[in-house]
């Protein structure tokens, strides 16, 4: 169930997610979905479209606006062998079920000494750039990075979206599955049938020799666009897409940086206390003797996200900020 064998077709990110849910539900009746407006309506972004008609109200359950009850129900049912996939409409709403994820799902296996496990997936739409305002635009991974026991996944391509969701549902750990709203309509090749993209494994999205750009979610296409700009100057950037954000793949990142000697880490979240900080610190700790320049770090300004698109553009990073950070890292003189 790992590598895809069937040919790829062009699908949107949303369609790729729907295919993953459909395949897993068809295969295992313990897999069921719950969330707000996921039934007849097919979810706010259409990820569960068609599944209510195919699998019925029992396995595609509409819920009230009760995020704690949604995730709590998922956890409780997982304790007795179900494999729930919960949808939290917007990642910003995770505050309402924070306790269920952090104190319950992530700690069950440890505090009860292995007697329970919580194989749940909580899918949610994150990220900004579309005028969603302060409560529909945030990058929330930093809220959860400090929680041992939790897995955080964030795909950047339609093919990975499908394969990572299959792997997340099959995995026995609680997975927070982040879906960036700006990627939902992106199209790409998606292999037919069932395949899994392994968790905790980053992808080298573009090989290069001059510097390493570590990115995830929407920053991955932004980093690839930045690499194109840099290539015009003859700079070959290697782009690494983390895919699993916690625990993240240190091997792939560190071996790349050891080779290139320069690194930029890009995240859409504020820099303070974020994943980019953890990746940067780890590179500094582990690759000190290989580094030719300080690690560059790209993130959002340290503000909430405003409604106005003009203001939002000032705050959220993208291709240009990554290019700028790369040039700075490339221009720095090697430590003597």
């Amino acid at each position: 169930m790992t590598a895809p064998t069937a040919p790829a077709r062009t699908r949107t990110f949303v369609q790729a997610l729907t295919e993953a849910l459909d395949l897993m539900m068809a295969e295992d009746e313990n897999v069921y979905l719950l969330g707000e407006d996921i039934g007849r309506m097919g979810g706010d972004f259409g990820v569960t479209r068609g599944l209510f008609e195919k699998y019925g109200a029992e396995r595609v359950r509409d819920t009230p606006l009760s995020e704690a009850a949604i995730v709590g129900t998922a956890v409780g049912s997982a304790m007795v062998g179900m494999r729930p996939v919960a949808e939290i409409m917007f990642a910003d709403f995770l505050g309402e079920c924070y306790d269920q994820l952090v104190n319950n799902a992530a700690k069950l296996h440890y505090m009860f000494d292995g007697q329970f496990k919580a194989p749940i997936v909580v899918r949610t739409a994150c990220g900004g750039g579309f005028g969603g305002g302060p409560h529909h635009s945030q990058s929330v991974e930093g809220w959860f990075l400090n929680v041992p026991g939790l897995v955080i996944v964030g795909p950047a391509t339609p093919a990975d979206a499908k394969g990572l969701l299959v792997a997340s549902i099959a995995d026995d750990n609680p997975v927070l599955f982040l879906e960036h709203k700006a990627l939902y309509r992106v199209k790409g090749p998606v292999p037919e049938g069932k395949y899994a993209v392994p968790l905790r494994q980053a992808a080298v999205s573009r090989p290069g020799r001059d510097l390493t750009i570590v990115a995830y979610l929407k920053m991955t296409p932004e980093a690839l666009a930045a690499a194109e700009v840099l290539a015009k100057d003859g700079i070959e950037a290697e782009v690494i897409d983390l895919r699993t954000l916690r625990p993240w793949d240190t091997d792939t990142v560190l071996s790349s940086v050891r080779r290139t000697g320069r690194a930029v880490v890009a995240s859409e979240a504020p820099r303070m206390g974020g994943l980019a900080a953890d990746v940067s610190a780890t590179i500094a700790e582990e690759c000190w003797s290989d580094l030719k320049a300080p690690v560059g770090r790209v993130g959002a300004l340290d503000t909430p996200i405003p409604f106005s698109l003009v203001l939002e553009k000032i705050i959220l990073p993208g291709r240009d900020q990554i290019v700028q950070a790369a040039r700075q890292v490339l221009g720095a003189q090697p430590v003597a």
């Binding site: 009850a69 956890v75 409780g76 007795v80 296996h109 505090m111 007697q115 041992p148």
Partner: protein, 328 residues
């Protein structure tokens, strides 16, 4: 319907196990042999014995922080290993969670104990999932959660009752109303001092019972469990009771109130009166039950003290299923 003598004696023994467990624990806690925090269920023995009597090991219960007794009774009844609850409270390797859970996180699914969550009320959301799974599988089981009156303030209380009633889930809500959330009287924290008044709006059967009268408590749980097993959906039971343990700094409640609950309405005294009133049990035999329960608890304490501490490898075990914990 009054209980027969045999049943009464069994329940009396269970109630004494609960009280002796808590008193023994309190003594050890003061000596410093029990780490962490301690919340005892002295005064609430009848509710715990009544619940333990009706929950099968294929059912489940989420115990609250004053349910050491219920945990021990379930462990003893279904596995014959009540001492493992004691060992857990001492943080020992022989405890039900190998010492990793302690007083606030003791669990053993093989006896139906799905574990406490020390964020009061969080498991009111979790219990929905267990109940939903059983309903989807057409299994006539009872998913119970034991909560205090303080938990009524949590959002999960309302989310849980609403969803259990809407989806007709097999949930037994056992609300132990002991009058206070730490220091706050129930009537000052909630719109009604009677929790059933608040629960009733969700459209499930809500019954309030004297939680210190073992016969009434037993009958109430029996009726609730029968309702749930028959597939009629959730049921809310409120046990009116009182805890002996005051605040960490001592007693804060009016003297008359303390006197009433400890002297006139003590669940063990009431049960003893009922037994003797049958005229078919000798006082010495009843005393013997109490003495045996106390002796059993002392053996459990000795077991806990003699048990090894968890091995250091346990510190990083079981963070993730199937993966080693990160080393950094």
């Amino acid at each position: 319907m009054p209980l027969d003598l045999e049943q009464l004696l069994d329940l009396y023994r269970d109630m004494w196990l609960v009280r002796a467990f808590e008193f023994g624990l309190e003594r050890e806690f003061k000596k410093g042999t029990v780490p962490g925090m301690l919340h005892t269920g002295v005064g609430q023995e009848a509710t715990q014995a009544a619940l333990a009597a009706h929950l099968e090991k294929t059912d489940c219960f989420f115990p609250d922080h004053r349910c050491h007794g219920l945990n021990a009774l379930a462990q003893e009844r279904h596995a014959g290993t009540g001492q493992r609850i004691m060992a857990e409270l001492f943080g020992r390797a022989t405890g039900v969670c190998g010492g990793k859970g302690g007083s606030l996180h003791s669990a053993d699914p093989s006896v139906g104990n799905f574990g406490d969550n020390a964020v009061e009320g969080s498991f009111m959301a979790t219990v929905l999932g267990v109940a939903l799974a059983w309903k989807m599988r057409r299994q006539p089981r009872v998913a119970c959660c034991v909560i205090g009156d303080g938990t009524v303030g949590r959002g999960e209380f309302h989310e849980s009752l609403n969803l259990a009633a809407t989806w007709k889930l097999p949930v037994l809500y056992a609300c132990v109303n002991n009058g206070y959330a730490i220091s706050t009287p129930v009537g000052e924290a909630h719109a009604s001092a009677n929790i059933v008044d608040l629960a009733r709006g969700y459209g499930l059967p809500c019954v309030q019972v004297d939680g210190n009268d073992i016969e009434l408590a037993y009958a109430a749980v029996e009726q609730a469990v029968a309702h749930i097993r028959a597939g009629h959906g959730p049921y809310f039971l409120e046990f009116k009771t009182w805890r002996w343990q005051g605040l960490f700094s001592g007693e804060f409640r009016p003297a008359a109130e303390v006197r009433y609950w400890k002297d006139e309405h003590d669940p063990l005294k009431l049960a003893r009166q009922k037994i003797l009133a049958t005229g078919r049990a000798a006082e010495a035999a009843v005393d013997q039950i109490e003495a045996e329960a106390k002796a059993q608890i002392e053996r459990w304490i000795q077991f806990a003290i003699a048990s090894p501490m968890p091995g250091s490898e346990k510190a990083t075990a079981n963070v993730y299923v199937g993966w080693e914990a990160a080393s950094r």
